[in-house]
């Protein structure tokens, strides 16, 4: 059952007050966050203030919205007015935004209770959450493993029951991959469906905010609440095709599922088996499966890293030690001050990506790398356009493996890049995709699959994901951590 609805029922039936509920979550954070490291900043005062407002409404017998009073978390790259927002980087320590990201403005107005800011890879650059200045978040299914990244803190908090849901961001898989690693549901919306205003930029043409939650219904509720046209984001288009929540319980009989063979290449056997079992579940529900090739996907990973790093090198140029965040102590001249500030403030992975981005944009290399990558981006977009003439959505593994052990990802950066192979094409083409748990390996670690839809077809993929959730509930497991409702 939807976690949000469950909490809503508890609050409206007065079985628990919002203050008591908030206390429960904060206590669990106190006892469990030491090991999960999901939160980098706990905002108890703000949470209680919001809870009080909800309780006041309830005591007056007023109706409350579905998200009102539900305790949640926000990734640390989403601006929250007056609450430190660091992107888990030393360079932004102490930075308190003076405005809210549109997504948080919306949820705060809906009465959401933010418990704190969630851990992430520094500037969302990483696949294990371990490039965080505050150390990585661990996996609630086994804390020797990482939570994934970059929205690892959100996935760990939701999987560990120390938040009912959370907002993450997805540039190359950063919502779907940790959701998959932690056995959660994560939605990367269509580019432009959710406002990026107030999301601290990594790669602006790829970044998109979205929810991580326990069930597909939860994700649908949150998506409906945050997707909207926003004049403050010039790439905003808003939710198109109406709300999704009233469309997630439809029959999927006759639906056409596409499988691009490239997505199954190099995928570990246990993951492949779980994904193909999910295909069988869909067939038993009356869906039709079509196999095809998408050769353009072979180039998706280098295209992604070239474009993402190029945009990052430009976006991260703003950290100069003058306007916000960390500044070096001793220097000689402004150039020296900026170089020292940036060299001391950024971690190794961020520096690597800035350097690569600067390299591919520099004279002599621009045509061979950046321009060529943009050209191939067009090819990949077209390949998906063609695919969606044949099927309603594409089913693929989310990650070719299960959660890495802590420390593994940082030891070999390029090998880690390769693990983003299944997630990056969606960002390149601006498509929506939802990651859904579809099994466990022999060590009990969760496996995820993603349903990829055409632009603005969130309702279609969420409906199909919900049909699977109802048919295979055994893949949605609780962990030992946190609040037991």
């Amino acid at each position: 059952m939807s976690e949000i609805k469950k909490i809503h029922d508890l609050l409206t039936s007065k079985q628990i007050s919002c203050k008591e509920l908030t206390e429960k979550y904060l206590k669990s954070i106190e006892s469990d966050n030491g090991e999960l490291n999901a939160y980098v900043n706990v905002t108890a005062d703000e949470a209680f203030a919001q809870a009080e407002k909800v309780d006041a409404k309830l005591s007056k017998g007023e109706d409350i919205g579905l998200l009102e009073g539900v305790p949640m978390t926000v990734k640390d790259n989403i601006s929250t007015k007056g609450v430190e927002t660091t992107c888990c980087s030393k360079i932004l320590t102490g930075y308190k935004p003076i405005y809210n990201a549109t997504v948080w403005e919306k949820l705060e107005n809906d009465g959401a209770v933010m418990l704190g800011k969630a851990n992430m890879d520094e500037f969302a650059m990483g696949s294990s959450c371990e490039t965080s200045y505050f150390g990585g978040a661990t996996n609630p299914f086994n804390t020797k493993h990482c939570a994934g990244g970059s929205s690892g803190g959100v996935a760990s908090a939701v999987g560990g029951n120390i938040a009912a849901y959370g907002l993450g961001s997805d540039t190359g898989g950063s919502i779907r991959q940790p959701a998959s690693f932690c056995g959660m549901v994560g939605l990367k919306p269509t580019y432009g469906a959710v406002s990026r205003y107030g999301l601290i930029a990594y790669a602006s043409s790829l970044d998109q905010i979205g929810p991580i939650a326990k069930t597909v219904e939860d994700v649908s509720i949150i998506y409906d609440a945050i997707s909207d046209y926003d004049p403050k984001d010039s790439t905003s288009q808003g939710r198109q095709g109406g709300m999704t929540f009233d469309k997630v319980n439809n029959d999927i009989k006759g639906m056409k599922i596409g499988i691009a063979r490239e997505y199954l290449e190099g995928v570990r056997d246990d993951v492949k088996e779980a994904v193909l079992n999910a295909v069988k579940v869909y067939e038993s529900l009356g869906a039709e499966v079509i196999y095809f090739d998408m050769p353009a996907l072979k180039f998706a990973l280098p295209v992604y890293y070239i474009i993402a790093c190029a945009e990052a090198s430009s976006n991260l140029g703003r950290y100069d030690g003058i306007r916000y965040g960390f500044k070096t102590e001793h220097y000689n001249g402004t150039h020296d001050m900026m170089c020292r500030t940036r060299s001391e403030g950024f971690g190794a992975e961020v520096k690597r990506r800035i350097l690569l981005g600067t390299y591919v944009l520099s004279a002599g290399y621009y045509d061979a790398y950046y321009k060529k990558a943009q050209n191939l981006r067009g090819t990949i977009v077209k390949a998906f356009d063609d695919a969606f003439t044949k099927c309603d959505f594409i089913l693929a593994p989310t990650v070719p493996m299960t959660a890495f052990e802590m420390g593994h990802a940082v030891s070999d950066p390029i090998e880690t890049y390769l693990t983003d192979i299944c997630t990056v094409p969606v960002n390149i083409a601006g498509l929506p995709a939802v990651s859904v748990p579809c099994g466990f390996n022999d060590k009990g670690m969760p496996i995820g699959m993603q349903l990829i839809g055409n632009k603005f077809s969130e309702a279609t993929i969420l409906n199909a994901a919900n049909a699977y959730e109802k048919a295979a509930p055994e893949n949605f497991k609780e962990t030992k951590w946190g609040v037991k409702l």
Binding site: I98, S205, T235, V303, Y324, L355, K382
Partner: protein
């Protein structure tokens, strides 16, 4: 081929210092990443153009003056400020 000099040059453009003892490792890593990125040069040129993902053009807002963020609020996050300005000292 990425050389030490390339990395030193890119670092200057990126406003980053690379310590002498980090330079060899970083050059090697950059070389590996660039080799990995070189895969795209094996791709056939499809002639597909790409501008922006949702083919948006001329995104204008109404020409109406809206309130800006107050400068005293903005300056609160600055490491140093003076007289309603960001303060940048030449030496420290």
């Amino acid at each position: 081929m990425v050389t030490r000099e390339d990395v030193e040059n890119i670092a200057i453009l990126s406003k980053l210092f690379v310590a002498e003892d980090e330079l060899d490792d970083l050059t090697k890593q950059m070389q590996e990443i660039v080799e990995f990125a070189d895969a795209i040069n094996n791709a056939p040129d499809s002639g597909e153009e790409f501008d922006n993902i949702n083919n948006l053009s001329n995104v204008f807002r109404e020409d109406v003056v809206v309130e800006s963020l107050p400068s005293e609020e903005i300056l609160k996050n600055a490491p140093e400020q003076a007289e309603d300005h960001f303060l940048v000292r030449n030496h420290n």
